[in-house]
């Protein structure tokens, strides 16, 4: 008898695991809601600032700002790697590192330097022996705009000092609760796209104060900071979504396992009873 007691012990241990995964799922669901809310409240700002940036940058010569100009020679690429601090969230973090690997394949002869947000990404970069410029660990879900400013200013400084020639951000785009895609986005130099054909009706002639060039200089760093901020928010929401899905799976798997084990247990119990009855019957037979 494959030890009835062993099976029973195993059942109760799986049940405990199931309780834990279920609880983690609930926690993630609650956190996800909050993260989604903060993502949504960033939306109006995102729309407006994007509008203003595209609008104003059409009117100025890209040469006035270093951030708008591609560098002549690109040797070093800075990568902002956004991951989570904690695991147990499915393929969330490995998707990011996979995305980086494919980015590396696109630029085989470049050097990469990292800004790591989240412990998992930091561990990844360190394991691979990359140069880590800065790491930001233990935001643990609570992220403020100031954190993004910090990262953005740091990266901009490196860009200005020619320590990095381009800047990419790799993060999990939040498509839906159950679906996130690792994306690599180029943020420096800023690429606003081809200047569209200007039809004179839609273009409003703004009055600029101080002047367009000075405004661009002010607004572009902000735009970059905000881009980072919105990527961070998406990544956080994605992390919770991903963890929720992973924990949901785990809970379901545990349930299946319990079912299987219970079946085994019942079989074992029945076998034990049968042998017992056999013993008794045999004993009674022997007495005759």
């Amino acid at each position: 008898m494959a030890g009835m007691r062993d099976i029973k012990r195993k059942i109760s241990s799986v049940k405990n695991t199931q309780k834990i995964t279920n609880a983690m799922k609930m926690v993630s669901a609650a956190k996800l809601r909050k993260a989604q809310e903060s993502m949504e409240s960033a939306l109006p700002y995102a729309e407006k600032i994007y509008e203003v940036v595209t609008d104003i940058s059409k009117r100025v010569n890209p040469e006035i700002h270093k951030f708008l100009q591609p560098k002549e020679e690109v040797n070093t690429i800075g990568v902002v790697l956004i991951t989570s601090d904690r695991g147990l969230c499915g393929a969330f973090n490995s998707n990011v590192s996979k995305r980086f690997t494919s980015l590396k394949r696109e630029f085989p002869d470049k050097e990469f330097k990292f800004f790591c947000v989240g412990k998992k990404g930091y561990e990844f970069a360190r394991r691979q022996g990359y140069d880590i410029l800065e790491k930001y660990i233990s935001f643990s879900g609570k992220i403020t705009y100031n954190d993004a400013i910090d990262i953005g200013n740091n990266a901009a400084k490196m860009f200005n000092e020619d320590k990095i020639d381009e800047l990419y951000i790799i993060y999990n785009e939040f498509k839906s609760v159950a679906y996130q895609v690792a994306q690599a986005k180029k943020i420096l130099p800023l690429d606003i796209g081809e200047p569209e054909e200007q039809d004179s009706d839609s273009v409003i002639d703004y009055l600029y104060e101080p002047n367009a060039n000075a405004l661009v200089r002010e607004i572009i760093p902000r735009f970059i900071n905000f881009t980072i901020y919105s990527c961070l928010l998406e990544s956080i929401a994605g992390e919770h979504g991903s963890r929720m899905a992973a924990m949901d799976n785990a809970t379901r798997n545990a349930g299946e396992m319990i079912k299987k084990l219970t079946l085994n247990y019942n079989k074992a119990r029945q076998a034990a009873i049968t042998t017992e009855i056999l013993d008794i019957v045999n004993g009674a037979e022997a007495l005759k």
Binding site: S38, S41, A42, P44, Y45, K48, I49, V52, I56, T144, Y145, A148, I149, I204, D205, Y206, L207, Y208, E209, P210, A214, L215, E218, I219, R222, F226, Y229
Partner: protein, 137 residues
């Protein structure tokens, strides 16, 4: 007055205002300016300061920490790095933070110049919060 301005105030963290007002006064980088209905399209950077808006005879104050302001077709859109409505600021808390900041500024004065500049603008922000909060007392 029939014509009103639509004022929208957004910061990266949330949308603070979306209302109809009669007048807006904002802290531009080159000095404060007022906006009334019928203003020409206008785009400017804002410095640290107070944004005032008037509606139905009431005057309200908002603490603004840098950002941009766009006027277009009687719509005023403010993109602030961070902003706080005057009636939401807690005066005591603001004073406490101001005092802390003053000490931090004094401490950094001797050391790091870059740090000092940063601290000073933080202090300016706190001073602004206190003065706005006092108006709501």
């Amino acid at each position: 007055m029939a014509v009103k301005l639509k004022l929208e105030l957004v910061s990266p963290e949330r949308k603070l205002l979306d209302i109809e007002v009669d007048e807006v006064v904002a802290p531009g980088v080159e000095g404060d300016f007022g906006v009334l209905p019928g203003h020409t399209p206008f785009l400017t950077a804002l410095s640290i300061g107070e944004l005032i808006y008037k509606h139905d005879g009431n005057t309200e104050y908002v603490a603004i920490d840098k950002g941009f302001l766009e006027v277009n077709e009687d719509k005023v859109i403010v993109l602030a790095e961070s902003a706080e409505l005057g009636r939401e600021i807690d005066l005591e808390e603001a004073i406490r933070r101001k005092v802390e900041m003053e000490q931090a500024v004094n401490a950094s004065r001797k050391e790091d110049f870059e740090q000092f500049i940063k601290m000073e603008s933080e202090l300016k922000k706190e001073l602004m919060r206190v003065s706005i909060a006092e108006k709501y007392k």
